[in-house]
């Protein structure tokens, strides 16, 4: 089963990863994206994520379907958290199951790159002396 979700609750990476385990698969590759403390030398206090939820879910599903055409994979799960996240907390989990590991690694990398370009979610970095909405590279 593929799954695409948005939540304000903390993410349990292990539980999400193990939700995609078809019997013909031999590997799951899971990305645990979390809040970084230092970006280009500047110290972040926390992040706030905001999303256009119905459109973000649609775009996540499109990416999953496209990944299944491009790579020899069986299942995809993507979960993104919104709201205030502290340093080290998981913001996104992408899990890909495949019969053989190579396709899952490649698909997982492709999915996070595309997610950062197309899924309508934005992050605000909050510093000791200000805050900024991060603009993606398009």
């Amino acid at each position: 089963m593929d799954f695409y979700e948005i939540t304000n609750e903390p993410l349990n990476v292990g539980e999400i990863a193990r939700r995609v385990v078809p019997v013909e698969c031999g590997a799951i590759v899971t990305l645990d994206g979390f809040v970084r403390k230092f970006t280009k030398g500047r110290e972040t206090q926390y992040l706030v994520y905001e999303g256009y939820e119905p459109m973000a879910l649609k775009e996540m599903e499109k990416l999953g379907e496209r990944a299944k055409q491009l790579f020899e994979i069986a299942n995809v799960g993507i979960v993104h958290r919104l709201g205030r996240l502290e340093i080290g907390e998981t913001s996104v989990v992408i899990s890909v199951a495949s019969p053989h590991r190579r396709a899952a690694f490649e698909a997982c990398e492709w999915l996070i790159k595309e997610l950062k370009k197309t899924v309508p979610i934005w992050k605000k970095e909050v510093y000791a002396d200000g805050e900024i909405w991060v603009t993606g590279n398009g």
Binding site: S91, K116, K117, V119, P120, W133
Partner: protein, 79 residues
């Protein structure tokens, strides 16, 4: 006819709005509709903007209909 216009992140900060109603003439294109909205909130011009109609990225050629959901936002930065 009336549509709903949504703003997120930086565009919500610039406009001071998250959701507004906007009126247009019939058969307006998405390109003209978004141009009118940006004229009303000129601070949006400081940003490179993306547009969506009914939760799909818009290329500008769409014809806007009564009740449509429009959105204006900056390049995404999730992940």
């Amino acid at each position: 006819m009336n549509v709903q216009v949504l703003f997120f992140g930086a565009t919500a900060d610039e406009t001071g709005e998250r959701e507004i109603e906007f009126s247009f003439d019939e058969n307006i294109s998405a390109e003209r509709a978004f141009a009118e909205i940006v004229e009303k909130y000129p601070r949006l011009k400081a940003h490179k903007l993306l547009f969506a109609v009914n939760q799909e990225y818009a290329d500008g050629g769409e014809i806007i209909k009564n009740g449509d959901e429009l959105a204006i936002f900056t390049a995404v930065s999730g992940g």
